[in-house]
Structure formats: C-alpha cells, structure tokens
C-alpha cells in the first residue's frame, strides 16, 4: 500500500481520498498496537510497543501524500536490561543464601533460658557427671550420667544429621538449577537462531521472539549470574561470570553437576566441553546462593564435629587415667569417627594418606587440600586459602593433626582432608555399663604408723616428663598393684611391690620432699603417670606409705573430669565457649544473609522500576493513545467523506 501511495502522482480529489485512507490505516495499526499493549499488560518480559509513523512527501510545492507506518517498535534499553538481569541474579543468590542461612540458624536454636540445643545438652552432661562426683558409689547416679552421655551423643547426631541433610538438599537444588540452566540456554540459542534469520532477511523486527528470549535470559539470571552481550543480527551471547560461553549465537553449551575431584559431600559444577570444575568461578543466581551456603554448612559441620571430637578425646583420655567401679583402668566412654581423607580422582601414585587428630586444643576446624609438590607436602585450607608447608613426611603435622604417608605419592597428587565433617554424626557412647565410668583415682597414699612428719598428698595424673629429674617412676607393669613406699633412711626410700620386692629406689630431701609416680599402661597417653607428692619433712627409717588403688568411693578422677567443663579443650576454648562461638558465627552469617537479601532486593526493585518506566505498559497512557488514534481515525474518515461530497458536487455540476 505504502509503495502505491508513494508512487502516486495524483492530485486533487483522488489524492484527498488516498491521503485520508493512509490516515485511516495508520490509526488502525496504532489502535491494534494499543490493543496488543493492553492485552499484554501482565505478560512477563513484554516491552511496550508503539507505531513509528513518517509523512509521505508530495510533489515539490504540493501537500504531503499522507502518513506511513514504518515500524512497530518495542521500548527497550539494552543497558537497563543487563542491569536488571544482574540485579535479579544477585537478589536470587542472596535469597537462596538467606533461606539456607535461616535453616542453618534453626539447627542451633536459642530457646528461652538457653534450653534445648547442644549447649543445654553439654551443660546437662557435666551436671550429671557432677552427681557421680558427689557419690561415686551410687549406681543410679552413674546410670543417669550414662543416659545423659547418650542423649548428648544423640543431640550431636541430630545436629550432624540435619547438617548432612541440608548439604544433600543443596546438592538436589544444584542439580535442579543446572538442568534448568541447560534447558534455558538451549531455548535462548534456538530463539537467537530465529531472530538472526528474521533480522537477516530484513523481514522487520521480531519483537515477540525478542521479548520471549529476553525473558528467558532473565530467568537464566535467576539460576546463575551471567554477562550478556549483543551479537550480530539481534542475537544475544551469554557468558558465565567466570567468562565461559553458555550461549554463542545459535548454539548453547551444557553444565553438569558432579561430585568434585575428591568425591566429597558437596556437588561441583563442571563445564561440559572441557570437563573442567568451574564451581569456584561461578556466582549469582540460585547456583551462587548454593555455593556460598555450601561453605557455611561445611564450616558448621566442621565446628560442631570438632566439639564432638574434642569431647570424645578429652573424656576418653581422662577415663584412661582413673579406675572404674570394678577397680580396672577406665575404658573409652565415647567413640567417634576420625578424619576422612579423600584422594583426588586423578592421582597417579598408589600411596595413601591417613590423618588423626592428636591435639584438639591446637586443632582449628577446617578442611584442607594436601598436595605433594616438588618441595614436599603443602596444605591449603579450603575456606581461607591459607597455605602451609608440611615438609617431606612420612609423618606430617598439621594444626593439631598428624598425617601419615604410606606408599608412594607422586608429585602433583593431592588429597582432601575433612577432619571433623562427620564427627558429630558418628559420636556414640561406647559402654552401657554404669560401672565403667572411671571415677576413682588410680592410687591413694595412706601413711603407716609413722614416726616422721612426712605426709602424702592426693594422687594426680601428670605427664611424666613434667616431674623433677630423678623422680621415681614405677613401671606400668606394676600398675594396679598395692605398692609401698618404705623409708630406709631420712634421705632414701624404696618402693616395694605387693610381693615386697624392691621395684625402685628414690632419694628424699627434707627441704623439698619427693614425688613418687606409677606409669599408666595403654590406652592412657604415652608418658602419663599417676604421681603423689611426699611433703618436705623428716622421715624416720621404717616409715611407710601404702599406695593402694582408689576404692569405690574415690572421686579423684571424676572430679578432674568435671573440671574439663571449664578447661580449654578445643582451639584454646572450653567446649561450651566453642559452641557459643559456633552459634555466634551461624547467627552472624544469618544476619549478614538477611542484610544482603534486603539490599539485593532493594537494588532489584530500583532497577526494575527503571526498566518498567521504559518498557512497562501504562494503561492510562494506552487509554489516552486509544482516544487519540480513535479521533485520528474519525478525522481521516471525515476527510474521505468530504472528498466524496466534493466528487458528488462535481458530478452534479457536470450533469447540470
């Protein structure tokens, strides 16, 4: 039609009709656009459209030949759109992280009066342990303590289990997000193809296809942070924040969620064309939120696990330094899983690495990657990235842990060490026998009918090395026997076995007294001895002290055990303080996630409002346009009617 008018060389009445007709046609198309705009007022991703009209020029010095609708354009700003995709990504990541942080915080509740949760269970454990120290002979007290130990272990198991299921749920969310990403990138690529074809053929702007595609890009941003750039013929190229191509024109690339290079609990994301683990370079969207939550959950798992490990280690240690109700050396109260060591899938050596926590007090919760380099082994903390050189092995020391290399490990081989990731889940009470609680001191010293004024204190467990040089240490083979210290003179004494054989001879000083010790057998820590102090004074030859194993009412060992509640056992903190720190950290992470989500939402709302001010449909505006175009239509129709009248007048005049 436009070509017909444009080529016309008509003047007068015919021109009048044609010009009027062009106005009618333009108004109709404009009203169709208004109609389309109002119909799509709630369509996601729809950009408001408008007709673009130009005047059809007439002959020189003549009137114009009417109007021409050159195109129907969508109101779209690429820059604002990109900003909106980015803000949507950030907001989604923050929301996912927030919801996970809230779930995490709910695992560590702060009920009224501090009731509930691991903190209360720890306090309860030490409370009933105290009841045993009040009356070590009471079986009901011991039974209650054992029940509380079991419920403490169950609480640790529950927290560990909840954290593990959070981790599993994150893995599920990640798998879902990755398949959504793959489907979205495929659709975007196929729309890119259509758009490029239509633009290339000059068949006009494919507004609907572009709106749909741009909306898909926005959805993609919800899953993963991306950068968007405009390619040839209206195509959009899409990259991950790390720069890997996801959509290039008409082709798309898939991502895969796989268990990482060490086969640990967290899924990782690999880039299919190269098979590379790109998790670390991804951010934004659901995926970005999951990745930051994975770190927080792993940190919580490590912290709560390290509390469980420190509890088990210190209790078991103290158990081995006392006697149970049967008079035997105490056996372990708790059992707990040790560190897990995961070999990288691409290791070339057949050697392996084992790890054990040897000193909980210098242990700092965290996972490590240990790699063999040309210069020996190197450990990198996965959370902080801090690297530590460990030397050549085969025994390596790493933050309270001892790593042992066995077999051949090649340079470049690496291992992931998760020291306490599963400790909370595996904590259990190793005995069901209330008599097995080692409340009694290993030994009690009782004076004979002595003439001298030397007195003996209470036995205590100490490291043999901390005793003064020359202190008598009775070998562990005599542990549990009745022993006698018998002075042979004012300055020397013998230690006699139950059979009155001299097992050791010591010297005594009137000014400083002396110490006598009996070495503990395994499983007590190597070098640990039960020691007693003989006070300074003057003994008479023949004076004796009988050293007998602590009886049923002895509470010397459980008293030390109860004091562990206020001892620094883990990373220089008491167990309770370590738990309080963990709660504080989880809370801070939750609070930070709340702030981040609010901030990201604010930014998104701002960008959305800018985008909507450009591309959104305003119904009032459309109503006004409708009135406007309706009037234009009526006017153009009136022009044609006038032309008809003119023509009629002309015919009448000719006929007359």
């Amino acid at each position: 039609m436009a070509a017909y008018w444009g080529a016309a060389e008509m003047t007068g009445i015919t021109q009048l009709i044609d010009t009027g007709w062009s106005g009618l046609d333009a108004a109709t198309q404009a009203m169709e656009t208004v109609s389309n705009n109002t119909a799509n007022v709630n369509t996601p991703g729809y950009n408001v459209e408008s007709v673009r009209q130009t005047e059809v020029p007439g002959l020189p010095n003549g009137a114009g030949l009417g109007t021409d609708v050159t195109s129907i354009q969508r109101a779209f700003n690429q820059f604002v759109f990109s900003q909106m995709v980015g803000a949507g990504s950030a907001s989604q990541a923050a929301q996912v992280a927030q919801s996970n942080a809230q779930n995490l915080a709910a695992i560590f509740p702060v009920a009224s009066g501090g009731a509930g949760g691991l903190g209360a269970a720890l306090t309860g454990f030490f409370t009933t342990m105290n009841a045993v120290s009040q009356d070590p002979t009471s079986l009901p007290n011991r039974q209650t303590f054992l029940s509380d130990a079991r419920s403490l272990a169950a609480d640790f198991n529950a927290v560990g289990g909840q954290l593990a299921s959070s981790q599993a749920s994150l893995n599920g969310q990640m798998t879902d997000a990755v398949s959504a990403i793959n489907s979205l990138t495929q659709q975007i690529a196929s729309l890119n193809k259509q758009i490029m074809a239509q633009q290339g053929s000059g068949a006009g702007s494919p507004n609907a296809a572009m709106d749909t595609r741009d909306n898909l890009v926005q959805q993609l941003g919800q899953e993963l942070g991306v950068t968007v750039s405009t390619g040839a013929n209206g195509a959009l190229d899409i990259y991950t924040t790390g720069g890997a191509v996801l959509v290039g024109g008409g082709t798309s690339v898939n991502l895969t969620a796989t268990s990482g290079g060490y086969g640990g609990g967290n899924l990782s994301i690999t880039y299919q064309p190269t098979g590379q683990d790109v998790t670390a370079s991804l951010s934004g969207g659901t995926i970005g939120g999951i990745i930051s939550s994975q770190g927080q959950i792993a940190a919580a798992q490590n912290s709560v696990g390290s509390i469980a490990a420190a509890l088990a280690a210190s209790m078991n240690n103290q158990q081995s330094l006392g006697l149970d109700l049967n008079g035997a050396q105490g056996a372990s109260l708790f059992s707990v899983g040790g560190p897990s060591v995961l070999a990288a899938a691409n290791n070339t050596g057949a050697g392996s690495l084992t790890a054990a926590i040897t000193d909980t007090n210098s242990f700092v919760p965290g996972n490590y990657i240990v790699t063999k380099t040309g210069a020996g082994y190197q450990a990198v903390n996965t959370a902080t990235g801090q690297a530590t050189s460990l030397g050549g092995g085969p025994s390596l020391s790493l933050g309270g842990m001892t790593l042992t290399v066995s077999g051949t490990i090649n340079t470049g081989d690496s291992f992931e060490i998760e020291p306490t990731a599963t400790a909370a889940q595996t904590l259990s009470v190793a005995t069901t026998d209330p008599k097995a609680i080692a409340a009694a001191s290993a030994y009690v010293a009782s004076p004979g009918s002595n003439i001298g004024n030397v007195t003996a204190g209470a036995f205590g467990a100490v490291a043999g090395g901390s005793l003064p040089l020359g202190t008598v240490i009775v070998p562990a083979s005599y542990f549990g026997q009745n022993l006698t210290v018998k002075f042979t003179s004012a300055t020397s004494f013998n230690v006699l076995s139950a059979g009155n054989a001299v097992v050791a001879t010591g010297s005594f000083s009137a000014g400083t007294g002396a110490q006598v010790a009996v070495a503990y057998p395994s499983p007590a820590p190597t070098g640990e001895v039960a020691a007693v102090t003989l006070s300074p004074g003057t003994p008479a030859a023949g004076d004796t002290f009988s050293l007998t194993p602590g009886g049923v009412n002895s509470n010397g060992n459980i008293l030390v055990m109860t004091n562990l509640a206020s001892q620094n056992l883990l990373s220089g903190q008491t167990l309770s303080n370590a738990y309080a720190t963990l709660v504080g950290q989880v809370g801070s992470a939750g609070q930070a996630a709340n702030f981040a989500a609010t901030t990201a939402q604010g930014v998104l709302t701002q960008v959305q409002s800018v985008q909507q001010s450009i591309s959104g449909v305003n119904l009032d505006e459309q109503a006004a346009d409708l009135v406007n175009y309706q009037q234009a239509y009526q006017a153009a129709a009136q022009v044609i009617a006038s032309a008809q009248t003119l023509f009629q007048s002309l015919l009448t005049a000719i006929a007359a």
Partner: protein, 419 residues
C-alpha cells in the same frame, strides 16, 4: 517518571507484604515473649545466651555439690560429736577411778562401761551415710572402716583418701575425711612421749609425761628411735635417779645404752626429772632399782587406748606394787584419751571449716546465678510495652497500605472515557 501499571500495583503489593512480615515478626515476639528467636536475630546475644546458660548450669551443679557435701559433712560431724561425748564420759570415769580408792566392783562396772564404749566407738567409726557408704573408710567405703581381729585388736581397713567436691568455679572442698587420721595413729601420752613402769618395780611411784620442753629434741630422738631409762638408787633422802639413753626398749634385754647417761641427780618425791627436752613427773616414792621407760614418738589408736583401759582395770591390785602398776597404766590411758579427744576435735574443726566455707560460697553462687539469669533475660526477653507499641504502629501501617492498594486498584482512565 513514567510508571507502568504493573509496577504501580506491584509496588503497592510489596509495601503490603513488607508490613505483613513486620507484623508477623512482632506477633511471634509477643506470643513467645522473646526477641531472640534465632541466632541470626542477634548473633552476639545468641553466643552470650549459650555462655550464660552454661554458667548457670555450672553454678547450679556447684550448688548441688555444696548441698551434697553439706549432708555428708554433717553426717561426719554428727558421728564425731558422739565420739567426743563418749570420750568425755569415759575420761570422767577413768579420772574418778584413778583419783580415789576404787573397789573391785567399781572397777568391774568401769570395765563394763569401757567395753560398751569400745563397741560404740567401733560402731561410730563404721558410720554409714544415706547411700550405705562407710563415711570414715576413705575411698574403700564399701567395706566397714574398722573391724575386730580374732586377737581382739581393732584394725582400720580403709585408706587415707579424702574426697573433694567443687563448690564454686575452681574451688574444691573436702566432703569426706578418712578415719585413719582421726581414730588410728594418735600420738600417745603428752606430746607423743609415752612412759611405762617396769613390771618389777617395788616402790610406790608412778611416772607421767609432764610435757615437752623442746619439740625438736624430742622429734630428733623419736626419729632416731632413742628411748630413755630412768632408774633409781639409794633410799630416803639420798634417793638419786639416772637417765640412760639408748636404742631398744629400756628394761628389756635388747636395750642398748648406746648414748650412756644423759641426766642424773638426787630425787625429791614429786619433783620433775628433766632431760633431752622431756619433763617427767614422778609421783610417790620409788624404791631403789625401780625404773621407768620413756619412749618419744609413740602412737596408739583410739581403740587400743580403750582396750588398754580395760586391761588396766583388770590388773590385780593385791599388793602396793600392783596398785602402783595399775595406777601407772590408768595414768597412761588418761594421757592417751586426752590425745584422742584432741584428734577428734581437730577433725570436727576441719569438717566445720568446710561446712562454713560451703555456706558462704553458696550465698555467693546464688547471687552469681541470679545475676546471670537476669542478664540472660535482658538479652532474650521481649520488652513487651515497646513490642506492643511497635505492633500497633505496624498494624496501622499495614491498614494504610491496604487502603492505598484498594484506591490504586480503582484508578484507571478506561473507567472514565467513553469513546
């Protein structure tokens, strides 16, 4: 700025949702009475609450420990008080017998009293707590602290262990005391110096340890196993004494007068004989050839002392010499009973000190615990007037947002144009 219809509605809706979320949070705070519902609400306070709950728990069990220890200590104090009472009665009895002229029937009844006292003392030494544990048996509380051997000797079966319990952070007190130190190995006589008369003495004199003038000399002598022999010679106004020091028991074949004579002089009846830091009073007039053995560093059990008393009361009193020997034995028992009383009283004082300490500490732990509870409540509890005020504010805001939404929703030009 141009605003799209959608945003106009969505914006109003978002405001509405924000207000609803505020109202919901305040609603929960009112319903639970707490502002700290999740560690994320206030991470610092959450950590503090965990710490305070633990502190309160520790103070609670410290208090429970104090109460349990108080009970155990009071049991001990009660038993020892009865021991003291028995000893006082026994002592009065012995004094009256030793001072006057006693008839055989007096002595018979005194024997009966002493035997029943011995039994009661053994029973008190075997006092059991509420849990059946023998209080004075040390750590071996599942067996009686003392038992009687076939020979009649009463022996201690426990050990010297004393339990401690924690009654405040890093403060332990003794909750039990072993009977070994209370009933057994009590220094004999006065200051650990025991005097005995030779069974062959013919004079009418008995000796008492008057006192110790030099503790260090006596200690050195006891450590060295030195004993002394006081022997008399001459008669009337020319009566003299000689103190010989040596090892072994004086008057027996094994006595070795290694150090020779340490003191000598003329003796006036009733006068003190002093040597090597020891002061011996001799009552009555000894005969030539009479001798006394002096042993520093002797000890005796409470039970042995009472058994000695029974033996002394059973001694024949036919001749004057026999009366003197019996008198000597009774005087020795009196001296030992004094030592036993001191030993029991000092044990009572030890337990009393623990009790007083527990009482004063408990007042303090109670106050600390109350402080911690208040602090925790401040961190956790909702300030209800403030929360309620916020709640009504939020409700008003929510209502306003709802009203605005209703108005916005009705605004459309299409309603007013009729093309």
């Amino acid at each position: 700025m141009r605003i799209s219809t959608n945003e106009f509605l969505l914006g109003s809706l978002n405001d509405l949702l924000t207000q609803q979320s505020n109202v919901n949070q305040l609603n929960r705070e009112i319903a639970t009475g707490q502002t700290l519902l999740s560690p994320a609400d206030d991470p610092g306070a959450a950590g503090q609450v965990v710490g305070l709950a633990n502190q309160i728990g520790q103070l609670t069990y410290d208090t429970a420990n104090g109460q349990a220890a108080t009970q155990s200590l009071q049991n001990g104090v009660g038993a020892l008080q009865q021991v003291t009472n028995l000893l006082i009665q026994l002592r009065q009895n012995v004094v009256s017998i030793a001072n006057g002229t006693s008839t055989p029937s007096d002595r018979q009844s005194a024997i009966a009293i002493a035997q029943s006292t011995l039994q009661q003392l053994a029973q008190l030494a075997n006092t059991q707590g509420a849990n059946g544990a023998y209080l004075f048996a040390g750590s071996k509380s599942n067996a009686p602290a003392v038992s009687t051997l076939p020979t009649g000797q009463i022996v201690f079966n426990g050990d010297a262990a004393a339990n401690q319990v924690q009654i405040a952070p890093s403060l332990d007190v003794a909750s039990t005391i072993s009977g070994q130190g209370i009933f057994m190995d009590i220094p004999a006589g006065t200051g650990g110096v025991a005097v005995s008369s030779n069974g062959a003495n013919t004079g009418a004199a008995y000796a008492l340890a008057g006192g110790v003038t030099s503790v260090s000399q006596v200690t050195a002598a006891s450590l060295a196993g030195t004993q002394y022999d006081i022997s008399f010679s001459g008669s009337g106004s020319s009566l003299t004494y000689t103190v010989t020091s040596g090892t072994g028991t004086p008057g027996s074949v094994g006595f070795n007068a290694s150090a020779g004579i340490v003191a000598s002089g003329s003796y006036a009846p009733g006068s003190d004989i002093a040597f090597a830091g020891i002061d011996i009073k001799v009552n009555g007039t000894p005969a030539a050839g009479d001798s006394f053995a002096v042993k520093p560093g002797a000890s005796s059990s409470l039970f042995q002392t009472v058994q000695d008393l029974i033996s002394a009361l059973q001694m024949p009193q036919g001749t004057g010499a026999q009366v003197t020997l019996a008198q000597q034995a009774l005087q020795n028992v009196l001296a030992n009973l004094g030592g036993a009383q001191t030993s029991v009283l000092s044990a009572q004082a030890t337990l009393g000190t623990s009790l007083a300490e527990i009482q004063s500490v408990q007042t303090q732990t109670g106050a600390q615990s109350a402080n911690a509870s208040t602090e925790m409540s401040n961190l956790q509890s909702a300030n209800l007037p403030q929360v309620l005020a916020n709640y009504s504010e939020s409700l008003t805001a929510l209502q306003a947002a709802q009203l605005a939404f209703a108005k916005v929703q009705g605004l459309t030009l299409f309603a007013d144009i009729h093309p």
